[in-house]
Amino acid sequence: MLRSWVVVFASFGYIGLLFAIAWFADRRAREGRSIIANPVIYSLSLAVYATAWTFYGSVGRAAHDGVGFLPIYVGPTLMILLWWFVLRKMIRVSKLARITSLADFVASRYGKSALLGGLVTVIAVIGILPYISLQLKAVSSSFQIVLGYPELEMPRSGNPILQVTAFYVALLMALFTIAFGTRHVDVGERHEGMVAAIAFESIVKLVAFLAVGLYVTFGIFGGFGDVFGKAAQRPELARLMAPFSAEGSLASWAWMTVLSMLAIVFLPRQFQVAVIENVEERHLKTAVWLFPLYMLAINVFVLPIAFGGMLLFPAGVDPDSFVLTLPMSQHHEALTLLVFVGGISAATGMVIVETIALSTMVCNDLVMPILLRWKRLNLAARSDFTALLLDIRRGAIVVILLLGYFYFTVAGEAYALVSIGLISFAAVAQFAPAVLGGLYWKGGSKAGALAGLSVGFAVWFFTLLLPAFAKSGWFGMDVVDNGLLGLELLRPTQLFGLRGLDQITHAMIWSMLANIGAYVLVSLVGRQSAAEHSQATLFVDVFTQTGEAPRVWRATTSVSALQALLGRFLGPARAAEQFTAYARVRGLKSAQELEADAGLLNFAERQLAGTIGAASARTMVATVAQEEPLGMEEVMTIIDEASHVIAYSHELEQKKQELEEATANLRAANERLKELDRLKDDFISTVTHELRTPLTSIRAFSEILHDSPDIDPAERHRFLGLIIKESERLTRLINQVLDLAKLESGMAEWRTSELDLCEIVGDAVSATSQIFKSRGVSVEARLPDRVPPVAGDRDRVMQVMLNLLSNAVKFSPSGTGRVEVRLAVETDGVRVDVEDNGVGVSKEHQGVVFEKFRQVGDTLTQKPAGTGLGLAICRQIVERLGGRLWLQSEPGKGSVFSFILPLAVRQEQAVAATA
């Protein structure tokens, strides 16, 4: 019976049966009578977890490690408790956010990041390649073995026939997968037919395995007791019955369990059947007990078969093949065929679901985002996407399987089946931090996920994939032996000196450490965007949210544009249906009455997400609507927070500025006070000095005259004259000091009235005419006929004029001196110039002249009479009246003292301002 054509025929027949089931299921789904909306079917579909690895490989593992094969099945069983929470949350979120794949899930959670989706896809594809190659190896090997009947020939590694077989197997599987999964694009990426088919194949493989198990245990041996009893008699087998016998095996057990706990969720095919294909959440309740039951059933006979094979066969028969070779050795052809078909079933089930899931990811999350962004293709303008999507997926399927084949040729021979599979488990475990973190920690950010995934994947690659390639000879063993860059600490299998663990455990420790560490650290350090915020809340709080947060669109588009957009992906008819349904929900009669408002855009986006994934859907709708969406609640919260923060920081800024100002003011005031103090001290000491000087003469001469009655009368006369002069000087000084003090303190009395400067100047000139005559200096007044009145105190202005004139006289040469007084009307007031042809004042002294007690004069000549306060007083007066007093002079060319007083109209304001 076991002729090659029989085997091939049986295989194809079985596949055909699967097709039939799938087609049937699909048709029923179209009619609305889905057959997979059934908890049992759901639970059975989850059993796609058991692949050719389970079918062949667990026995192989048991033969080496005894009960060490169990953790791979214990893990998922332990997950039961967590399933109810974790899976349920995943399912809820995925439905809400229209998630279409694992990559889509991650991308969506972290702010709809296409980059993240692409990364997950790449990791998934590369990570699953070993797993796919495992199936290829299993099918090819089992085929070879069966063909060798009745001989038990193990396929030798490197056997070209094996490789060719594997190649054809890969191609055939690609064809099957394409036929199964790419006939049309379904909304939500549901594949009812596929689910039905794999539920069926789960039954088939279970039946096959149970059959061979029963046969071996009760047919070849006399029951469980018999098998185990006989095994116990052989020391090398007895050892296998004791768990934890090998060094480091406890750690291995632990990690293996953890790995499989993660794999049951994160393998793309598992995510697909458990989350995406889930029809109703409550099906989980059934799966929670049915799936573990299945696991138990398929594992019950593993040890007996393993021991049976070890007992019956000499060394040299690959334990991976026991399920096949045991019935073969007993010439039970029918059973052999059943087992073979069971193996095919397990392998193709895995390949079909896994590859479809992967190709969906590659299409939606890797290729499409790139194509959409590639402006040259102008993809957004295409009218029909379905063909493109399907083509991309088909291409992806072929490429993935060929890559799987490639991996098989390169590295498939290096390890036993189980080890190959575990490499893939470790790869998909890298998704755990980002996904679980994304479900339970709002703080997880896109950057964190990117960091964690990248680092974890890199470590995985380095510690697992690289050694696999090296062992197969494709890659030199150099790096494995001596470490990266020759650093012993960077040896792939003993990273940083961690020894004593098996390779998988070792890889898991380092990759998880790096992954979780990077994820948490980068998330904590960085900040999230608004989109990330809103998605985080959506995911983490999915059970508490009462409804979907309405999103704010600001759009400039039309209903027809949106409908056309949807039509491109769902087909025009389907799109119209959806729009009509939506209109009815909104209480309108037809889609024509719809408005392109936020709600409609929302709806369109959701519908699209079901087909091309959330990230691409957003891009597409955004292209049409030309805007970016934000969650309304999130926007308000963020704005609120932001405005609080802004207000607070404004306050702080203000306070800081006020503080700075106050400090500066205080400092300036302090400086001024010190300055004033100094000035006051200076002033006081100068005044003291100035007062004492004339007093000295007065007293001295008085005493002299008093003590010398017989003094020469001429001298006596002279001295008395000096006394008088100095007394006058003293009086003048005291008066001026008091005057200045009054002016400066603002206590002076001002009698403001409108003044005619012509008149005042005239009066001043005539008042000083005597002095001019006695000095021999001529004085001339050049006055216009009329000048506008200025406001001021007559006496004070007179005081200024007199002072300027007397200065002019003092500093003009006697005899030849000429003083001229001029009046001019300017835009801002009336100007008076007093010009003399005296010695002039040098530039450096010009500033000094107006200071108190400063006098400029030739020191060799007599010190000019005067107190040095005159100009200071004049300046005070003029400035009080709102004017300016200044000097223009050059040494040897005389001087012009000028002052300007504002016109009467504005005078009051100026006075008021300065008072």
Partner: protein, 130 residues
């Protein structure tokens, strides 16, 4: 042999009074109205006593005092400082600069003459009457 008095002061009337007073005592007087003249007079006139106003133009009284103290030839010269500024701080400054006596304006003529006589010492105090 009458004492030589240098009067270093810029206020005209005070100079007159001082000059009169010193001449009445029988001393030989010389007047310098600024620091430069004072320095020149020190070299040429070699006074026995200088009545020194602190507020001199060009060179301050302190400078002149320092010059006297720094000149070995004028070891015997006495310095009587005059100032219009009050305060004990000024006096201390004056003494620190090397003055032998310190008087504030306005001064009593009697006191001034007495101080001069004191500083000159009994040998010269008597004055003209030789």
């Amino acid at each position: 042999m009458s004492a030589r008095i240098l009067i270093a002061e810029d206020e005209g009337s005070i100079v007159t009074s001082l000059d009169f007073l010193m001449k009445r005592c029988g001393f030989e007087t010389r007047v310098a109205r600024d620091g430069e003249m004072a320095l020149a007079a020190l070299r040429e006139f070699r006074p026995d006593l200088v009545i020194l106003d602190i507020m001199l133009p060009l060179r301050s009284g302190f400078e002149i005092c320092a010059a006297i103290r720094g000149d070995g030839a004028l070891r015997a010269t006495r310095v009587l400082m005059l100032t219009a500024r009050g305060g004990s701080g000024e006096e201390a400054k004056g003494m620190a600069a090397g003055a032998d006596g310190y008087m504030t304006k306005p001064f009593s003529t009697h006191e001034l003459v007495e101080r001069v006589r004191e500083l000159l010492g009994p040998a010269m105090a008597s004055g003209a009457s030789a």
